[in-house]
Each structure stands twice: as structure tokens, then as C-alpha cells.
Amino acid sequence: MGAQKKRAAAAAAAARVSEDPDDLARQPLQAILLADSFTTKFRPITLERPKVLLPLVNVPMINYTLAWLEAAGVAEVFVFCCAHSKQVIDYLENSEWFSQPNFTVKTIESHNIISAGDALRLIYEQNVALVDIACLLKLVSLSRLKLATCYTLTICFLVVLSFKIHGDFVLISGDTVSNMSLTQALQEHKERKKKDNNAVMTMIIKKSKPSPITRQSRLGTDELFMAIDPNTKQLLYYEDKADHSKGTICLDKMLLAENPSISLHNDKQDCYIDICSPEVLSLFTDNFDYQHLRRHFVKGLLLDDIMGYKIFTHEIHSSYAARIDNYRSYDIVSKDIIQRWTYPYVPDVKFCGNRATKLERRGICFTAFNSEIEQSRSAQVGSFTVIGYGTKIGSNSKISDSVIGEGCTIGSNVLIEGSYIWDNVIIEDGCELRHVIVCDGVIMKAGAVLKPGVVLSFKVVIGERFVVPAYSKVSLLQQPTVHDSDEELEYADNSSGTVEFSSIQGTADQSNGEMTSESSEAHKPKLGTGGVGYIWSICEGGQEEEWRHSVAPIPEDKLTELSEAMDDDQELVTQDRTALSTSGELISDSNASEGDDNEDSKDDSVYFEKEVEATFLRAVEENVKVDHVILEVNSLRLSYNMTSADCAGAVFYSMMKLAIKTPHSSAIGLLTLYPSPFSMVASNAYPIYLSGELQQNTANIITTWQKLLKSYLLEIDEEIEIILKFEEMCLESAKEFSPLFARILHILYDKDILQEDAILRWADEKEGADESDKVFVRQSEKFIQWLREASEEED
């Protein structure tokens, strides 16, 4: 580790030396393109084809990213391939990207990479490997490895030589569509870097309001909270997984202390385009736990104040940038492309090797057409539709807001709405497709219906008149049974593309051959007569979350449901505010904080009472000395910050509880004789109800522990507190005592626990109270009378 740090430092130093202004100017800009999202959101499609090669308006996604990088002035792109790396590399080799002047694309392949963090670590290792060649070669010779191994190692290093990151680079994933200009952001980044060496990253953000109802952005990502310094544009806080149920977010107090002004945004969208300094790579290497670019790296940097690395933001206004993160963003970005927000990366501009498309006017708006499509006269193709080369459309079919790939055959009376149909799909007569994704080679037999949100993976066959339920995903491959809870890890368990491809073939062949046997198996849901494929059960996230990320628009009923739920929430929140008050850290107004205190003290007193009771019971059981119990209760009093009145109340409460719990030896009430005239009177009044034993128990306990109780009865207030407590107990928790109230009061008086003043004052206080409150005063009326007389006599 130490060595690694040193190496990092050396590399950083080397970078710094070379960073004189002239160098900066002529250094070609580099980019690292991650051709893998390291997630599983596009399953089951991504089991067979890497996400970056999925067609977006009939062009594989990676082309949008590469075209933008080229236009933005990036000279060298390292494409990092993991899952299906062979497919990606094959595609790139056959594309025109390898033959562009002033734009080089290099691929890095690795299969055991499971996260973006790993990928960057690998790149860094290859980067610093240069420094270590000599030392490693020495090591090799020392360990006397075979000559062949030496050769392979050298070859490895030679390969590595070409992957050198020598300056600032753009970090982007291969599913990003943008048309922004990098010049300004790059300029800002470099200037900041010159002033402050710790400004390692500039993050591109864009304004986008999240929906108040669904709490997600239009791209289907969760609401994002960012705290940004409005002057320096420094990113101070980043939270994309805020807990909505709580309705609050937490900011570190230090943030507020250190920064004079902070603007907190929830309407910013992270474009996932970062301009990074070379240090970023070494940071990833130093922190092995950085996996996710945002969740770990960005948050890690923001929290880590030891190194003091800073992240800044650059907001773009008119230009477009979005990352395709889930099916919803696939849908939204496709529509943005068709509506030309991503100009010049639009269907009718040949920005990469795509075929020429032309626009035709449909109604007010435009439809992109390829020149060679066969379209029946009665077919209706609506606006905002793109139709690929060589597609045939039958009569009376209606297509709107959709993208149809190349070589598709669409029968007659077909309805296609808001759907994405890839290449070579056969849709027979009378099918209905609404808001679905249909991959290459799918066959839909006549009359089949796809409900909104359905995803049909490659080469699936849907049987005649079969209705695929909403949000289901159908694939030829079976759903992986073992489910890793960590989504980062899930994606990488695919081996290389070739293996999978053969497996597809295998399944297809097998399914063709053994159609009947397959469909007879009970656990596989059938796809109608002649259907081939498995419907994946929805498990991760559950049905509940499925609509959030699907291609289908959010259904009305869900929206109303949500908005109702939200209203309820708000009511709850307001109720909380008034009655209980939330423990919101952001709420700083005095009312709320007072509420907090009340809440806390209430909680505390309950805990305190319990603790005291436990202590007391223990003391009784273990015969602990009274002094020790006093000590313990005192320490509790201090730790809970209670008054001695509270202690007295609690101790008394515990004593009474004990009295109840002590087993009753007999059910017959016995009159215990006390040498007082009053006791006789009282017992006469309630002869039947008196549970003499209870009284006896109470008397015994009071006698035993009077010292404990007395130590808290410093003033008359505490004594009154005890009476009130006793009254409360009689009413609520220990109704057994209610008939004995007067008697126990008398006992307490006899034992000098309560003074007559306290009792009289209690009686006076109760004078003006409600009738219901006076129950016990009346019960002990005679006793009080007697007390009064006694005091008068004394006078």
C-alpha cells in the first residue's frame, strides 16, 4: 500500500512537471469510455448483447457517445469493455471509428471487472506499470521464470504502453447522448486546476425538474439532491438515494459552518460526463472500496476532508446531455433524438455509419424514413416515427411515436404505438403493441398483444392471440435463479459473448425441436401456441417499482394513487410538525425545536422510570443496601437530567408496583389494625373491598424502603408529587390501589414520608378540580379532616 501511494505521488509529480501551459494546449484530450454500465437494469436484453450496442433510434448507442467525443475535440478514446467485450470490440473494428483521422479508438478488454471502480483501477495500474517495467523485469529474472513467461510479460507491457493517460480526461459511459461543447467546461477545469491542485473533477450537470408526484426525473432516475456553492460551483453534497419516506435529508453541520452560502438543488440532473484529472485514477487505486462512480467515489471524496480533494460542477443550459440508465430513459432519450434535441445526432444526419434517412412531413411534424421501405397505401404512419431500411408495412396498419428497425415485416391491421422495434422483427396481422421494446428477430404470430411495458428479448416467438401481461420481460434464456443482492456484481457474471451466443442458438434449436416438451413443463409459462421463450418473474424491486423504469408511460391510476399518497404524506408531515414534530435536521425554527425537546423529555422520563424500577427490583431481590440504591438512582437522575421530584415519583412508583407483584397469600381481606382512630373508620367504610394483604405488603415495603424514598423528599413539592403520582397510578396502571388510597396515604403519613402540610396542600389544590379528579380527595376526606383538626389542636 505504501509503495502504491508513493507511486501515485510520483506519477502525480511527473504529471505536474509536464503541466506547463504550452503543454496543456497541445496535449490531446483523452477519454475513457466505459462500455458497460455494471448494472442489470437492461436485463434480459443485456444477457445477449452489451448495452452499448443496443440500437437507439436504429443506431447503436456507443455511436452517439463516440460521435460526440469526436466532435468535442477528444483525440483518443479508450473503450473499456467487460461484459460481452468480444461483441463490442468486433463491432468497433468493423465500424468506421477505427479509421477516423485525428481520432483514435483503443479498446481495453477485461472480464473480471465488476464495477467502474475496478475498471479505473485497471487503467491506472496499466498506467503506472510503465514506471515499474524495469523493476518487474528484474523481479522476473530473479525468480527465474521461464523465458516464455518473460516474453508474454514484455508483450503485455508493450500493449500497456499504448494506454497512457497523460492529462485531463473525460470519463463517460458508452450509453450517454450529448451534443454539448466541452471547450468551456474544459477551460474552467484547467483554470481551477492551476489555482487549486485539489480540484480533481468537474461534473457536468443539467437542470431538470423531477416530477413532484413520482419523485423521479424525466429520465426515470431517482430525485437527486445536490448542494453546490453558488460562487465557486463546488459540489458539496450529493445524494441520489434520498429516503423519501422520511421527507428529510441530512446535511452535515460542518458544511454550513464552512461555506458562507450553499444552494441546495433538487432540479439538477447528473449527466454522467466528468472531466477528471489524472489523480482520479490514483484515488481509485488508493481506495479499494470505491466501486460505483457516484455512490462511492463522489460521496467518498465529498466526505473525505483529509485529502481535501474537490469536485466542481459545470451546468449546461441549451445543449443536451443524458445517460440511458433504464428503460424509461431509453424511451425518453429516443424521443428527444427524434424531436431533434440532440442535433446534429439525429436520424437524418449521417453522424456515423448509419444509413441515409430523410424526413417526410406528417401532419405538423416530421417522420424519418429510409428510402427503401415498402409501405401499403392504407397504412398510416404517424409523426415522430422512424422507420428503418427495407421494412415492409402492410395495409391498414397504424404506427405512431415509434422506432422501427431495418428489415422488419409488419402485417396488416397492426397497431404500433410508442414502441421500439429493432431489426428483422416479424409482426403478423392484427397484432397490437403499445409501449414495448421488441429486440432483433422476434416473431409475433397473428393477433398477439403486448401490453405496455413488455420487453421481448432476442428471437422470442409469441404465439397466436397470446396476450403478454404488462411489464413482463420475455427471453429465450432462463432467468438466473441465484440472485445476488448486490446489483453491481450481477452484471459481470456473464462470460464472453461467444459462449452466450452459442447458448442462444442452442436454446433456439432445442426449443424448436422440443417445442411440446418444453411447453409441457409446468414452471415455464407458455407464450401461446408455438411461442418460444420464458417470461421472467419480476422479483427485484417487485411489481411496485416496475412501472417506474419501464418504457410505458406511468399509468393514470398509478399517478392518482401516488398523488393521493403524497397528500396523505403531507398531512402526516404537518401533523407531525404540530403534534409530535419530526426530527428534521433541516428544520431550525424555534417551534419545532421546542417540540423536539418535549418529545425527548417525555421519552426520557419513561425510560428513566423504567430504569429506576429495574434498579429497585434488583435491589429488592439482591438485598442491596439502601445507601447503594440511593447512589444508583442518583446516578440515573444525573444521566437523565431529572429532578429529585421525578426520582421520588419513580421510586414510589416502583415500590407500589412491587407491592402489587408480591404474591397474595389469601384472597380474603384481613383488617390490619393500625393504632389510629382513622383506620378503623376507613376500614368500616370499605370493609369488603379491602385487600388487606395488599395493604400489608405496601406497608411492609414502605417500611423497608422509607429511607430510600425519604432521601428524595427534600421539600414539600416532592411529597405532593408522590401523592399525585399515587393518584395517577390508582387511576391508570394500578387500579388495585384505588380502594386503598386513603389507607396508604395514612401509612405514608405515619411513616413520616408525607407531612401533613403536603397532604393538606394537595387537598387544597384539588378543591377546584373536576368531580372526577376529586374521587380520591373525597375518599380520604376523613383523614384530611382529621389532619386539619389535629393541626388546629396543635395550634
Binding site: G220, Y343, V346, F366
Partner: protein
Amino acid sequence: MPDIQALVSDLPSKLRKRRVQGSYETARLTAELLRAVILQHKEPTASGAASLIEAVRRVGEQLIAANPVELAVGNIVRHVLHIIREEDLSPLTDIVGELKLSAEDDVEDIAEDENSQKSSATTDGCLLKPPLLLAVFEHLPDSAPACQTFSSENIFAGKADKSAKKLKSELIKAVNELIEDINTCREGIAEQAMELIHQNEVILTLGHSKFVKEFLCAAKEKKRSFEVFIADGAPKFEGHILAKELDKKGLKAIVITDSAVFAMISRVNMVIVGVHAVMANGGVIAPAGLHVLALAAKKHDVPFVVVASTHELCSLYPHNLEVLLNEMRCPSELLNFEEFSDCIDYGIASSSSLLHVVNPAFDYVPPELIRLFVTDIGGYSPSYIYRLIADYYSSEDLPPQQKPAS
């Protein structure tokens, strides 16, 4: 020739990616590329100009396909082809003249004249140059093959090599001149400013055209004093740039919005605008908003003058214009995406958003609304454009290019 290959693939990719835009820039680059193509072309002795024509046409088709909206590319390609044909023809006319010993002296004179002048119609303002008429006559019966048979079955085979070399050097000279013309066309246009802009006049223009700017500045330099209204040219508001530039030159400029054009037109003496392309029927393709301005000018009988260079002269007729030769630009020029991002949300309930933005770049202004074309070779009325086109382009080159339009 790796470098020529790189060049040839470079410009189309630039055009495709919309990195080169504007008729002037594209015209210049196209001419330079074609010059390189001619320079690098290894001429097989037998076929003469035919293979060269084929080579140029191939490159030309690539260029045109790259961005069909930039009509200047096609214009230059066709013009270069025309030059090649003319040059190829001129030695023939020599031979024909010698053989026939014809009484038509002027034919030979003209042939010589053309040899000396190299380029056909660009240099002098004269329109109806006789050699062109001759070419037309000769080509009429059997247009393309005639040329080939003459050149391939050249009886004077010995002369062929020489003539081929000569042809090439002549061609390079001619194309050089064409590039020179493109570079200097603004001055040519500006020269006529004095004749059109009079003292104390009020001129109205829209957006920003380099030709218009030069034109106005030229008049100012000659001590004419006049006022200029500038409609700002939404959505790019390039009129503001023009206003700044004119201010530097000491011209009085008043900026108005596009929508105020009709309100101001009654105070205006003349409308001068630049365009994207001039069509064969005399109509123009111009920045969006010009049609309205032209109609306003027509209503108040204010002369609507178009300044255009010869490379903007397009041999196409405006069929299905609004789609074929228009460019739908980015909607973010019009409105801020982020402000409307919640409206442009397709995810909620109804499948597609109700808010759409359409941003066409061009308008088509029909010829009847245009009073005068001011070009670098003089002023013409719209009805005369077809003649200019006949001068500039050979009829053989038109059909393949017009195919996509039909």
C-alpha cells in the same frame, strides 16, 4: 495517393457532421478539394477528359450526399465539371476549325479567346458568351457521347498526350480562377452598391449576411449616407452581430424584431438580403423569416433585392422544398430545454408530450416577390436566372443531380 483519399473522406465527414456550414465556406472547400482531385488524377491517354469527369463526379456525388442541404457544394461540383467539358472541347474546336476551314471566323476567334481566358463566364460580366452557345449547339443532338467519341477516337493521337497535359494545366488554371472568384465575389457584388443605394435612403435587411454587410460598407465608404434597419433574425439573432459590425463602420443601424418588419416596411426604400441558394426558377432559399419580409415588401411595393454570388446559383428546381432542401435544426435554439423539461415529459399518462418544437432553417421565396438579383457578375431579374444556369453548368451534369429532387 493517401493524402487525396484522406482529403476526399475528410470533407464529406465534415459536411455530414455539420462542421462546415454556409454557402461561402462550403463552396471554397469544395473547389479546393476538386482542384486537388484534378491535380492528383492520373489521366489515361486514351479516354482524355472522360475519366477525369468521372473522377470528379464520383467525389462530387459523395460531397453532395454528405449534406444535400448545402447546395453550394453541388453548384461547385457541376461548375467544375462544366469547366472540364469546356476545356476538353476547346482543342476539339481548334481541330474542327482547321479541318473545316470554315468561314465562321468568329468560332476560331472565340476558341482562341477562350483558351486565353481559360474560364468560361466568370471573368467578364458578359452573359451570352458565344462559345457557350456553340457548346449548346454541338451538344444538342447527342450530348454526352459526342464528347466522348470525339476525344477517344481522336485522329490526332500523337497530339493526345500533349493535349492531355495541356488540358490538365489549363484546368488547374481554370479551377484556380474559380477559387479566386469565390474569394473575391464579395468585392464584385459590393462594387454595384453605389448604383443601388442612394443618398438618405432607408435600407432593411434580415439576419446577418456577409454579402449584405460588404455591400452596405462599400456604399458607406463611397460617402453615401443612409440608414439600415436590421431585423434580428430569430432564432439565432445574427442581426445583432451585423448591427455591431455596421456600428464599427460608422453606419447608422436600427435593430428591430422580425415581427416588426411589417410595421417598419412603409418607411423603407429598399430591402437587401442575402440568401442560402438561388434556384433555377429564380426563387431563393433563404433564412427562415424572409418570405414574410418579401411579402411585406411586395405589399408596400418596396424593392426586394437579393445579393448572391454565382456559386449560390443552383440548377435545381424547387420541388417539395420544405422537406428536401430544408434543414430542421436543433429545437434548443428556440427554447430552453431545461425550462420546458417538465412539459416535454413523455413519461406521464398520455404517451407523447403535447409540446413540440420545430425549427426549420430555411424559407423559400418565390421569384415573383424578388425584384432584382445582385451577383458578382452583375444584376439580373429573376426571370433571367435560367440563362445564367445554362452558362454555368453543362446540361449533361444536370440529370443525375436532379434525380433525387424529382
